[in-house]
């Protein structure tokens, strides 16, 4: 606004010129900081990509710039895609993640609806408890859970992972769903009650559609968390054919004597692809889910 007044009345408002310079300086420094940050933030995945496109010979060649690829090749990708172990990891990750996401969403949507709207004895305490359990890290629980899962005979099994992963996803998803449900105006369920809806109808016909952005955000959260889970599979799975991708790539592709860096990086990148793709297409929901913990609820 001051820029236009400045143009009209240069004689009177000469001070506005310095304001404009100040703004230009601020903008310039903002772009400079962001560029530097983007460079640093994107360098490791970029370097992983470069490495994955190199032949073993080029990787071993220590002369010259390691950040560029001279003879790009997809041979590492073909090799890793032909590796039955890697494909097994992928399938395991997919099974575990799909089951965990489904379980999580059913558990947390039902619970959040009950906690946000139906108020029963102890519901307030439970809502707080849910948030507290979200703050309990997996590294505090993995040893006792190791004993429990072992007792159930589920060590070295994807089913053991499906059993314990909800500890990572359910508390947070429930918490943000409570937040989303609580933000739906009370009159909406009253209108539905008067229109003749029962509680289940109200959940399915009103709450789930209206809170769909929240449900998408929670689903994305559950997906990324179960896909990236590391502590539990590292602790509970030691047989390669039951491993999900994270620990599989880290423990099985990295063989102490012969580091096939090109293949490792190709494998890591492909393993990281599903969450990155989801992020690329659903960035707004992803970010909504990320910030919901502190801003909703």
């Amino acid at each position: 606004m001051s820029a236009t007044t400045n143009r009209d009345l240069p004689g009177i408002y000469h001070k506005a010129g310095s304001l404009r310079a100040e703004r230009r300086w601020a903008l310039w420094s903002a772009y400079a900081s962001l560029s530097v940050a983007a460079l640093i933030f994107l360098a490791p995945p970029f370097y992983m990509l470069i490495t994955s496109l190199k032949t073993s010979g080029e990787i071993a060649n220590m002369s010259g710039n390691p950040w560029i690829v001279r003879e790009p090749t997809l041979e590492n990708y073909w090799a890793i895609l032909e590796n039955p172990l890697f494909l097994k990891f992928f399938v395991n990750s997919a099974i575990v993640t799909a089951c965990v996401v489904a379980l999580t969403m059913v558990i947390s949507v039902l619970a959040a609806f009950a906690l946000a709207r139906m108020r029963f004895w102890g519901s307030q305490v439970l809502a707080t408890g849910v948030f507290l359990t979200y703050l309990v890290p997996d590294t505090l629980l993995f040893i006792p859970l190791y004993q429990i899962v072992g007792g159930l005979g589920l060590l070295n099994s994807v089913w053991g992972l499906i059993l314990v992963y909800p500890t990572l996803t359910v508390p947070f998803c429930t918490w943000i769903m409570i937040g989303y449900f609580a933000s739906i105006p009370k009159e909406l369920d009253e209108a539905a009650l008067i229109d003749g809806a029962t509680w289940p109808q109200m959940l399915i016909k009103i709450f789930i559609p209206v809170a769909l952005p929240g449900i998408i955000a929670a689903t994305i959260f559950a997906f990324t968390v179960s896909w990236a889970a590391f502590v539990y599979p590292t602790a509970f799975v030691t047989t390669p054919d039951q491993m999900p991708l994270t620990i599989g790539v880290v423990s099985q592709l990295v063989r102490a004597d012969t580091f096939a860096w090109g293949q490792i990086m190709a494998g890591a990148l492909m393993a990281a692809l599903p969450p990155v793709i989801i992020y690329a297409f659903l960035m707004d929901y992803y970010i909504a889910g990320l910030t919901a913990g502190a801003t909703k609820g």
């Binding site: 009159e187 009253e190 209108a191 539905a192 009650l193 008067i194 229109d195 003749g196 209206v210």
Partner: protein
């Protein structure tokens, strides 16, 4: 066929706070009843108890002769319009209106017929495919009413439906609501804090305060014969002046001794009514519109008095003048042609046949 009866309705919250303290009300079939009062007076709670959204602590509510205390909202055959409209944001206008019928398993053709009919009455046919987000406030209001109309319920409940609209639209929708009621003629209970809405819409107005009913009656009745000081002050805008006074006997007639040695003669027609209160301190109540400039056509039952204006508010069709009388605010409505200036004595007349006397201890109108 649906009258609504409230019998000794009490609503108490945990901790013993009583929002509604045992009210009785009979609403006749086809009647348009408005519950009005300041916020926190229990009017909304009462409405929500009729709707079944709040449980009744004690008492009975009957709709169409059936006690509905234990019946969930969906089986009470009522429809409600909310202050924020409560339209389902993910459904089109059509689906919003059809939802209640769909849940009640009406045949598709019947739903379609009713929705289209309601849309026609409310003039929202072109909006049927839109989502609520794409509607203006007034249009949302219409859809909310449409949702109520399609149900063809026994009773319409309105909870401050016009509060979220701007002043101009509010007046328009007020007329609209009255028109709709004249068309569908369904028993209606309407809650508002706005006494103008209450007066213009109601067959009967129920004035509530602190969880009790102060007075029930047709709008004109409440205006001319308020039963309590609260009703007298609440109905009418600007509100009635209350001036402390002493009722005295003066040679066959009664007169009021006001501050500043102002003495007003009480009309002879009221002598018998006020005789038992002679010698008491009372509140003299007179509406600003009955305290006018000194050029009436009919001088009957008027008394002159002179006051110094403190604030003058020209409104166009009239001028509001505010005075101070020993710490009591007094206002008068004058002809805009009357010259008035701050501090200059102004002669007024009080239309004493419109006066009220209030017992300051019981707040009852005498």
């Amino acid at each position: 066929m649906a009258q609504v009866s409230l019998r000794k309705i009490v609503k108490a919250y945990e901790g013993g706070v009583q929002a509604v303290k045992g009210i009785d009300l009979e609403i006749a079939d086809h009647e348009f009843v408005v519950l009005v009062g300041p916020s926190g007076c229990g009017k909304s709670t009462t409405l929500r108890m009729i709707a079944g959204l709040e449980e009744i602590t004690s008492g009975d509510i009957a709709i169409g002769g059936t006690v509905v205390n234990d019946i969930p909202p969906r089986d009470r055959d009522i429809a409600m319009v909310f202050q924020n409209y409560a339209l389902y944001p993910h459904m089109s206008v059509y689906d919003n209106m059809a939802f209640g019928l769909m849940l009640r398993k009406f045949p598709k053709a019947e739903i379609d017929r009713r929705v289209k009919e309601a849309a026609r009455i409310l003039d929202i046919t072109p909006l049927l495919d839109r989502k609520p987000k794409a509607l203006s406030g007034g249009q949302r209001q219409r859809v909310a009413m449409g949702r109520a109309i399609v149900r063809d319920p026994k009773v319409f409940l309105f909870d401050e439906p016009l509060s979220n609209l701007d002043a101009k639209l509010r007046v328009q929708m007020r007329t609209e609501i009255k028109k709709v009621h004249q068309t569908v003629n369904t028993t209606t209970v309407y809650v508002t804090h706005d006494q103008v809405e209450a007066m213009t819409l109601a067959d009967r107005v129920v004035v509530m305060n602190h969880g009790i009913i102060e007075q029930v009656g047709p709008p004109q009745e409440l205006y001319h014969n308020p039963a309590t000081k609260f009703v007298a002050g609440f109905i009418g805008s600007p509100s009635m002046n209350f001036i402390p006074a002493k009722l005295e006997q003066a040679s066959g007639a009664l007169r009021l001794q006001l501050p500043h040695d102002i003495v007003l003669d009480v009309p002879a027609s009221r002598t018998a009514r006020y005789q038992p209160h002679v010698g008491k301190n009372v509140l003299f109540g007179i509406r600003p519109e009955h305290l006018t400039d000194d050029k009436p056509t009919d001088k009957n039952n008027t008394v002159p008095l002179t006051l110094k204006p403190e604030v003058i508010e020209p409104m166009g069709m009239e001028t509001l003048v505010h005075f101070k009388l020993d710490g009591t605010e007094v206002s008068a409505r004058l002809d805009p042609a009357t010259p008035a200036s701050v501090g200059a004595p102004l002669s007024l007349i009080a239309h004493m046949d419109q006066m009220h006397l209030i017992d300051p201890t019981s707040d009852k109108v005498l």
